[in-house]
Symmetry: D2
Subunit: 346 residues, 4 copies
Amino acid sequence: MSASDDVLRVAVFGAAGFVGGELLRLLLQHPRVGDVCAVSRSQAGKAWSATHAFARNLDAAPVFVAPDDPAFERADVVFAALGHGESQRSVAALVADDPRLLVDLAADFRIRDPDRYVTAYGAHARPELTADFRYALADVVGADLEGEAKLAAPGCFATATLLGLHPFRGLAMRRPPVSFAVTGSSGSGATPRVGTHHPFRATNFHAYSLEQHRHEAEIGDQLGQWGAAFADCRLLTHSGPFVRGIHATLHFAPAEPVTDPQALLEKAYAGSAFVRVLPEPPELRAVTGTNFAHLHATQQHAGEIVVTVVIDNLVKGAAGQAVQAMNLALGWPETDGLQQLGLAAC
Amino acid sequence: MSASDDVLRVAVFGAAGFVGGELLRLLLQHPRVGDVCAVSRSQAGKAWSATHAFARNLDAAPVFVAPDDPAFERADVVFAALGHGESQRSVAALVADDPRLLVDLAADFRIRDPDRYVTAYGAHARPELTADFRYALADVVGADLEGEAKLAAPGCFATATLLGLHPFRGLAMRRPPVSFAVTGSSGSGATPRVGTHHPFRATNFHAYSLEQHRHEAEIGDQLGQWGAAFADCRLLTHSGPFVRGIHATLHFAPAEPVTDPQALLEKAYAGSAFVRVLPEPPELRAVTGTNFAHLHATQQHAGEIVVTVVIDNLVKGAAGQAVQAMNLALGWPETDGLQQLGLAAC
Amino acid sequence: MSASDDVLRVAVFGAAGFVGGELLRLLLQHPRVGDVCAVSRSQAGKAWSATHAFARNLDAAPVFVAPDDPAFERADVVFAALGHGESQRSVAALVADDPRLLVDLAADFRIRDPDRYVTAYGAHARPELTADFRYALADVVGADLEGEAKLAAPGCFATATLLGLHPFRGLAMRRPPVSFAVTGSSGSGATPRVGTHHPFRATNFHAYSLEQHRHEAEIGDQLGQWGAAFADCRLLTHSGPFVRGIHATLHFAPAEPVTDPQALLEKAYAGSAFVRVLPEPPELRAVTGTNFAHLHATQQHAGEIVVTVVIDNLVKGAAGQAVQAMNLALGWPETDGLQQLGLAAC
Amino acid sequence: MSASDDVLRVAVFGAAGFVGGELLRLLLQHPRVGDVCAVSRSQAGKAWSATHAFARNLDAAPVFVAPDDPAFERADVVFAALGHGESQRSVAALVADDPRLLVDLAADFRIRDPDRYVTAYGAHARPELTADFRYALADVVGADLEGEAKLAAPGCFATATLLGLHPFRGLAMRRPPVSFAVTGSSGSGATPRVGTHHPFRATNFHAYSLEQHRHEAEIGDQLGQWGAAFADCRLLTHSGPFVRGIHATLHFAPAEPVTDPQALLEKAYAGSAFVRVLPEPPELRAVTGTNFAHLHATQQHAGEIVVTVVIDNLVKGAAGQAVQAMNLALGWPETDGLQQLGLAAC
C-alpha cells in the first residue's frame, strides 16, 4: 500500500459517474498523485471529455480504459465508485489477496451488522469481506486510519448526519434524533431520469423514500460501532432544486439538558482540517465544490437541540472524503489535494 | 358587507408588494369582482406595470392610488397586505365602525392570546381589536366563515403546518410535532436583500430563525383555539433556492399508534375544493401558482408519522387563501376566481 | 367544424407530451369547451396525473385514451401535438375527407415550399396535403383564419422571430436579419435527455444546431408567403438554464434607414389582443405561462435595428397560439380561455 | 516590480466586491504569493468571512484593512478592483512614481482613444495616465506582457468577444461583426438590486443597454490597437438566469470567404494554456470557476461565420485573467495558481 516513488499511481473504477469524475478531478490536482487511470466498462476507449465537461480543460485528452487494462495492475491505490451491490462482486479480488489500498465508495462494505445490511439492501454476495473494511468518516476517525488497507467511504446523507451527531454521541436521548436532509440533483447520478429532468426539477422540492431506511441503516450501524448512548436516528430525505450539496437539520432532545450545544461542537472539532463550527446556521453555498463541512448548534426550546450541517455531496460526501481517507491511510497530510476554498461570488 | 350590484368593488392596501400583486392578479380574474383599486403609499400615481411585470399584459394601464383616494371609500371589500405591525395602525379604522368585509393578511390579528403575540412580535398597538377577527384557514373552517366581517388570513408557514396537523388534532402526542419547513425566495418580499441576491440564493439552502418563534406562536395559538389534544409544534424554517412555495415535513408520534394516517387525511379533506391527498409525497411544482394544497402521510417507524405538505406560499399561503376566505364570507362558491390549475410542463 | 351545441368536444392527440399537456390545461379552462379527450398511444388507460403534475389538482381523475377510442370520433375539433414527421402519417385521414377543424402543431404542414421542407426535414409522406393547411400565426393573420378547417400552428422559434419581423416585412434589407434566440428546457420535451439533465442544465448556456436550418426553413417560407421585401433570416439557436420561454434578439439593417422602429411595431400591433409593445427591452418572466408576446425595437447604430421579443414557448409558441387559432377559426372571441396574466411575484 | 523573496506580497483594493473576492481566493491558492492584503474602505476591520462565504473555510480569520494600512505599503504587487471611474482617482498615485506592478480591473485605463472613452464613460480625471497602461488580454498578448508595470485587465464582455475576433482580425469584413452576449448575475456585483433579486432573476432573460456602447468602445479601441482589418463590432448584451459566466455568439461575414474557420481558431490558439478550441459549440458549465475559454467556429451559410465563446466572467473575464497577467508580467509560469479544472458533475 505504499507508493514506491514519491508519486502515486491511482486507478478509479466507475470513473464515468459523477463520483468517479470528482475523484478524477481531485486526484489530477493532488500533489502526490502522478498518474490517474480511469476505468469504465461502458466508456472504455472514449475520451474523458465526452463524459466529463471539466476534462475539456486538460492539455491532454485522456481516455477511459477497460477493467482488464494493465494500467490497473500498476496502480498503487484503487478507488471504486461503482453502484451499490456492484462493488461486492467487482472488487472482491482486491480485498483478500491484494495488499493495495482500496477505497470503496459504494454502500457494500459500510454496514458491519449483516442483518441491517440485508434489511436495507437485500442479500450480500460476500458478507464475510465487510469485516476487512474500516468505515472512513475521515473527520471523526482521523489519524486512526493510518495503515488501513480497505476503506469504506461513507454515504453523503450519513456523512452529514453523523458529523452532526458525533459531538453528542455520549448523551442518552429521550427519543431518536430526526435528521431532515435535502440533497441536490447530482446525488441521483449522471444518467438522466424523470426526477432530474430539468423542467421538473428546476423549481421543485419533495420528500422521498420516507419508509426506506437504507441510509438509516448506515447511520444506525455506525452509532452502534461508536457505542453511542442512543441507537437510532430517523432520516427524512428530500430532493431540492440545486445541483450540489446536502443540508441536514437534526432535532433531538438529550435526556439531560445541554445548555451550550455549540461548545460541544467546538470541542469535538477543535483543530479539524475541514470541519468549521459557525456562529450562525451554515449556508450550502459556502461549501459547494469543497471538502469542508459547516456546522451550527442551538437550543430551540429548553432541552431541545437543533444542529444544522452543510456539505458538498460529491466532495465531502463522496470523492473528497475518499481522498482525505487515502491521505490519512498513507500517512500523508490530510489536506493534500483538497484545499480548494470554493468560489467567492456565490 | 354585501355588494350592491352583482359586481364587487375591491380595494387592496399594500398593493405594490408580492402578496398585494397576487391579490390584484387573482381579483382581476375573479368573475364577481368588477373593480380593483390598488392602494400603495409608495407607488401612488405610478403604473402597476412598473412594479408588477404581469400588468404589462393588461389592455389598460392602471395606476396605484393613495390611501385617501375616493376609490377606497367606494370599495365593498378591503384586503390589507401590509407589513406586520403596520396593519394594527393603518386598518384599525376599518374594524370598529366599518361594516365592510376586511381581510387582513398581516400577522397583527392572527393570534388571539395576547401574551403569545407580545412574545413573538412585541407590543400590539390595538390588542382589543383582535377579538373581532376570525382566523381564516379556509380549507379547515370552510362555510363557517359565511357572514364574517373581519378575517385574519393565516401565514404561509402556519397554513402548510396546520393543514398537516388538522387531521390529527384529536390525538394526544408523545412530544410536540416538529415541522421542517422550506420557503422560496418570494417569501422574503419584493425588496432586494442579501438573502435574496441571485448570486447568493440561486444554489443555496440554509436554516434561519431557529430560535425565533413567530410562526410557532401562530400555530400554537391556533392549536389552542382548536382545542387540539396537543399544545405546541416546533417549526424549523429554511430558505430554498426556488421562487415560490412552501414544503413542510411534519414528524410526530401520537400517544396511541395510528395505523393508517392516510385515512385520517382523506377523512379530514373529503370533498375539499383545494386540498388533495396524494398516494406519494407531494411535489412542490404541482401547486406552483395555484390555490391547491397537496398532502401525504405515512408511518415511518412504528408509531411515528410523517406528513408532507406543499402549497404556493403566495397563493394558498397568502392571496389565494384570502380570496377563498372572501368567497366563503360572502357566501359565494369557494372556488370563484381560484381555479387555475398550474402549468403542465413543470 | 361547427360545434353543434354551445359546448365543444375537443380531442388532443399526443396529449402526454408537454405541448399536449398545455393544450389539456388550456382547454379545460376554456369557457366554450365542454369535453376534452386526451389521446396518447403510450399512456392509454393511465391517469393524466401520472404524466402531468397539474392534473393532481383536478377533482376528477381523467385517463388517456387510445387513438381508436370512440371519444375521438365524437370530437368537434382535433389538436395534434405529435412529433415532427408523425403528423403526416397519423392525421392524414383527418384532412381530406374530414370536415372537422384540425390544428396541427408539428412542423409537417407548416412549410409550403416542398424543396425547403425536404432540405430541412427529409422526405414528406404526404406533401400534397400541405396546400390544405393555413399557417396560423394568430397575432398576424387574425380574423382571416375564420372558417379555415386545417391549421398548421407555427413553431416557437418561428413565432418569436416572425412576430419581430412582421412590422418590417415591407422593407428591403441590406443583408438577411439575424435572430439570436434562446429557449428553455421545456422546448426539448418531456423525455429526460443529457441536454436536460438538471446537473448539466441548471447553470449552463450553449448554442446548438448552428448549421441546421429547420426553423430557418419555416421562417423563410413564411417570408415568401408574405411577399416580404427580404427572403431570409438567419437563426442562431441557444439553450438557456430556465424552463419556459423564448427570447429572440433580431439585428438587421434596412436598405432605407428607419428612424422610429418602435412606431412600426406599434402600428403593426395596434389593437392586438396578445402582443404588447414595450418602451424597454422585454423580460421573459412577464410572459411565462401566458399567451402574450412582448416586443421592443430600437436603433443601435445609424441604420441598424435591434428588435427583442419574448414569448412562452409552450403557450404563445405552441398550445396557446393553437387555441387562439381555434377561436379565430370558429369565429369566437380570440381571447377565450387565454386570459391568464402570469404570476405577480416573478 | 520584482518580489524581493520568492514569495510575493500582494494587495487587493476593492476586496469586498465579487471581483475582489475572486482575487483573494485565487491569490491565496497561488504558489508564489505569500501574503494577501485585502483593502476595503467599507469593510475595514471586519472579517472576510462576513462578506465572502468561501472565507469561512479558512483556518485563519483575516480582516479587511483600510487603504492607509501599512500592509499596503509593503505589498509588491497591487490589484485594483474598484468601480469604473474610481480607479482614475484612487490609484493614480500608484502609476507615476511607484514602480510596483499595478493591475487595474476597472474600465478607466483600458481605452487608449480619449474620445472613445469620453463618449462611453464621460470625462476622465487623469487621461494622461492611460498611455502608461498595457491592455492585458492575456491569452492574446502572452509573453509580451513580461516586464510591464501597469496593466489594464479587460472587461468580461470584451474578453469573450475579442477572443472570438482575434483569429479573424486580419480579414476585411462586409459589415461590423455582431456579438450577442449573455452574462450571469454575478456580473452585476455584490450589492442586491432589482435586476438581481432572486424572484425576478431566477427564470428571466432580457436584453439591456442596447444603445449604450461602453463595452463596444473597449472592443473597438482594441481593434484599432491591433490594426485589425475591421474597425467595429456590435455588442448586444443580455442578462441570463445563471450566476457565473459569459456566452458570446459572434456573427460576421468576411469580405473573402473563409472555408475553414475552425482552422483559424486552432492556429491562433495553438499551444495556448487556457484557450481550448472545441469541435462543438462550447458549454458554459465546462468553464465555470476556471480561467479557461472555450471557442468554436462554423460556417452557417456560405460566407457567414458563427463563433461561440464561453468564459467565467469573474475568472477569465476578471480576476483570473488579472492573475494570469501578473504571472506573465513577472515572468512566471502563466498557469501558476490558475489550474483549477472546474467541477465534474455540472
